[in-house]
Symmetry: C2
Subunit: 212 residues, 2 copies
């Protein structure tokens, strides 16, 4: 069962095993080195490339694993604003389970069949709603920016801000003392930010439609 360098055609090597090992590495390191992935799989880098198209292809596998449970069917089933809300909740949960993957996936070209299908469904829903075609990607990415930050915030400590008895910090002390604690803290920030952003997009759509 051992897989070592020199046995590149190990029967275990397929897209599923490559993706799983790559996600493990990203979860540990926050980055993806192809030599490190090859070492983990006990194969040569070139053997990986028999199964996947380059490093970008491996990142596509990682992206599809991280985002597997994001609901994109909502874009076809619900009004655009309710769909964005559902998508946002499942998107935050998906990335919150892999905080080390956030930076990598936010800064590498998006590919992978499942992700292209998700972005296609989102773009189609926003176009049907009446958003201008040249703003659709900006809206999707703007919402994603919020969701990626919200996913990181799930890992923030129970005491996200340490306020001592500094003079002048009374307003901050009051606000921190009144805020929810534990998992409800990041959930409240997510709920407030998500609701504000969707409400603002509704207002943008009305303004667009009145301007036409």
């Amino acid at each position: 069962m051992s897989r070592r360098v020199g046995r590149p055609s190990s029967p275990q090597l397929d897209r599923a095993s490559i993706g799983a090992a790559a996600l493990e590495l990203v979860d540990e390191d926050g980055s993806l080195s192809m030599p490190a992935l090859a070492r983990r799989l006990g194969v040569q880098v070139s053997s990986i490339y028999h199964h996947v198209e380059g490093r970008a292809g491996v990142i596509g596998l990682v992206r599809d694993l991280v985002t597997a449970d994001i609901d994109a069917t909502c874009f076809d089933a619900l009004p655009w604003d309710e769909a964005l809300d559902t998508w946002a909740r499942t998107y935050r949960d998906a990335f919150a389970a892999h905080p080390s993957a956030v930076r990598l996936l936010a800064t590498e070209t998006i590919g992978g069949d499942q992700n292209l299908a998700m972005y296609t469904a989102a773009a189609a829903a926003l176009l049907r709603a009446g958003f201008p075609v040249d703003r659709v990607m900006g809206i999707i990415v703007g919402v994603e920016n919020f969701l990626l930050g919200a996913a990181l915030d799930v890992s923030a400590p129970d005491e996200p801000i340490h306020v001592g008895d500094e003079p002048g910090a009374e307003d901050l002390r009051r606000a921190v003392a009144a805020a929810p604690s534990g998992p409800d803290r990041s959930l409240q920030a997510f709920d407030l930010g998500r609701a504000a952003m969707i409400e603002g997009l509704r207002a943008l759509l009305v303004a667009e439609q009145q301007g036409q």
Copy 2:
């Protein structure tokens, strides 16, 4: 001039040199190991702790360096919504210069005099505006979630999404083709998301005030 283990009281060791070396490490690795920091400074970890209170203190120094150019004076000078807008622009720029620091600083307890002053100014402005005290931290963190994601998006590639000639992806192809390119791409997403979130917070404030 060499600083080696065994010379812990090297005259160069002070809070400024510790903070600068720690930020270099975070920029490279995305994480902060105290033994690695001590090696970089050529001292023992215990010598660092003569100058800074623990690892949390070092992270406070890194946070103060990353956030040095964020404008928090706007909260005292401008109406809350204009202040949030100014703060947001300078906050995104600050973190966009240190994308590897985003995850660390998003998931470690906030401290450092400069940051406590910033959060105090933000909390005071939202309280003066009339937001309920138990939602003030949620609003600040909700906006920050967006800003941290937007800062990462600045490092995204010029082609953030690769759409080929997949059947059924026509809407996505149209939206990607119509979107701005280069730095204007991430700027548009930031502008749309920021405007939507602030507009949504204005609506929340109106609803709160009508409910009272």
